[in-house]
């Protein structure tokens, strides 16, 4: 039972980091990306590659994943600089499809559909995180660091610039905001931290394949952010906790047929999204409305 709860807690931390980083660009900069799972995947594959071929050093794998993901994020930043709203959503979806194709077809690096197996647990200054509890502590610490960093960024001038761009790009430009630089930087920060989540995932699971980085997962992350509250610090964490605990909670309801749990889960997600958009469009943490009612 404890092992089961530890497993859920580790996966919650990883998903919360991903939701926080997606919210950073979605909630604060207004960049609605459906390609976040790709950055998660790039981080995971980079870590797996480094750990399997060079070193299991946590710092090396995490640094390499963050750096590579931030660089590759410019592929997302470029369309974000040119288009907004639904056009960008479509462009990011295209990037997601390309990413999944590369993950599944670049066999020499990603292992193709079979993925990469036997990823060792990470080491930090000689200590190897073989114990699941120690790994959970590591995940919690990194989650807290991501929350702290996000708070620092969004409550400072950078965050205000992001929100200004989200609310009115032309007005932000008219008051001297270098919109392209701020957007590119925000995407790079978000992607780098998603890459860090990928590092934790690869080390924890010891096996990764393309199934973990699909469009469905990007949509699930977006649901975590929206349900928790876009543009709020703790909303994505709450959203991640809710969506992570739902499958576990459903298994405790004896009247539900186990074979239909996945379907029921999807229906509950859908109903929750519809109700939230109707009654609390700002999300659970974000308040009743994002716009003043007429």
């Amino acid at each position: 039972m404890i092992a089961y709860l530890q497993n859920i807690a580790v996966l919650f931390c990883i998903n919360a980091i991903l939701a926080l980083t997606l919210n950073f660009i979605m909630g604060y900069a207004g960049i609605f990306s459906l390609a976040h799972a790709i950055f998660f995947g790039v981080g995971a594959y980079t870590t797996a590659y480094i750990a399997l071929h060079f070193s299991d050093s946590l710092l090396l794998c995490m640094g390499g994943s963050a750096l590579l993901t931030a660089l590759l994020s410019m592929a997302l930043a470029l369309p974000a600089l040119r288009v907004r709203g639904e056009y960008f959503v479509a462009a990011s979806m295209g990037l997601q499809v390309i990413g999944v194709t590369i993950f599944s077809e670049w066999k020499s690096v990603t292992g193709g559909l079979g993925g990469m197996i036997g990823i060792p647990r990470p080491s930090l200054f000689g200590y190897i995180f073989n114990d699941d509890l120690a790994f959970l502590v590591l995940c919690v610490l990194i989650l807290l660091m991501v929350i702290g960093l996000t708070a620092l960024l969004v409550r400072g001038s950078f965050g205000r610039s992001l929100m200004a761009i989200r609310d009115s790009e032309s007005a932000a430009q008219s008051y001297g905001k270098h919109v392209n630089a701020v957007k590119a930087l925000s995407v790079a920060v978000s992607a780098a931290l998603a890459g860090v989540a990928g590092t934790l995932y690869a080390f924890y699971m010891s096996f990764i394949n393309v199934e973990s980085f699909t469009l469905e997962f990007s949509i699930l992350l977006m649901a975590m952010v929206i349900i928790g509250g876009t543009g709020t610090l703790f909303g994505p964490v709450v959203g991640a906790a809710l969506l992570m605990s739902l499958p576990a909670a459903l298994t405790y309801l004896p009247f539900l047929p186990p074979s239909e749990l996945g379907t029921i889960q999807q229906i509950i997600y859908g109903i929750a999204m519809v109700l939230l958009m109707m009654f609390r469009p700002g999300g659970l943490i974000g308040g009743r409305s994002r716009e003043k009612s007429a």
Partner: protein, 250 residues
């Protein structure tokens, strides 16, 4: 009028400016200057090209031909954010406030030119923010979101932002439209105050009270052409221009 502040320095020079949108000539061979310390009002019927002229000055759209010089430097090819940092700020007819941000954040973010990740949260001078909030009488609304403000308060927030910008030239697009008489008087007093401090102001305005009370110069635009420039008395008393303004072109 603030004629005592007028100098002969030309801040902005517009020469033979043209802008075509397909077959429509939105701005046609406009030549005018904005001298330092002078309040200039652009008047003209809807579709005269007034906002397009602002967009050309601020780099939001690129001219088909002609030039705009700021303190002798050509603005061609310069991005809007750079032009803003050079000292030209503007408001918008539809305000474009940072709607989900608080009143204080709206002002503060305008004061922060750079947005580096390591910049601390309170780099903007709080003293100046407080001054602006007092001047615009928004102090008790400082923690409210812009979207939750009443209409007149939004108008004053739009003005507060440009006050915070430290720009030398303010381009105001219908800043007083829809204001009640008391707010209108406060608004005029604020603009006079800033003009007296040396700010050069160019206003697009349909409200003839503003034109008469504030303007040192009036420029009349119609169908993209600059038809006349002069004092408000000269322009408003011209029967030909009045006929165009009120829609009688016969």
């Amino acid at each position: 009028m603030n004629t005592s502040m007028q100098t002969n320095d030309i801040l902005l020079q517009i020469r033979n400016l043209n802008k075509n949108f397909g077959g429509l000539q939105a701005i046609s061979d406009v030549t005018m200057d904005l001298p330092a310390g002078v309040i200039t009002t652009l008047v003209g019927p809807n579709g005269a090209g007034k906002t397009t002229l602002f967009n050309l000055i601020t780099g939001h759209i690129v001219p088909t031909s002609g030039s705009v010089h700021w303190l002798g430097q050509p603005l061609k090819g310069i991005e809007p954010w750079r032009i803003a940092r050079m000292g030209i700020a503007r408001t918008f007819q539809d305000l474009r406030l940072f709607s989900q941000m608080t009143v204080e954040e709206n002002i503060m973010t305008v004061m922060e030119r750079n947005s580096w990740l390591w910049q601390s949260g309170r780099t903007a001078a709080e003293k100046r923010v407080n001054e602006i909030l007092e001047e615009t009488q928004l102090a008790d609304k400082r923690h409210e979101r812009a979207v939750d403000l009443a209409y007149a308060e939004r108008k004053f927030l739009s003005l507060a932002r440009i006050m915070a910008s430290q720009a030398k030239l303010w381009l105001l697009d219908e800043p007083a439209s829809g204001l009640d008489p008391r707010s209108f008087e406060r608004f005029v007093a604020l603009l006079r105050n800033y003009a007296a401090r040396g700010i050069t102001i160019c206003i697009i305005e349909h409200n003839l009270d503003i034109v008469i009370k504030l303007s040192d110069r009036v420029a009349f635009l119609d169908q993209g052409k600059l038809l006349a420039q002069g004092s408000s008395q000269e322009i408003l008393k011209d029967p030909h221009l009045a006929a165009i303004y009120f829609g009688d072109r016969s």
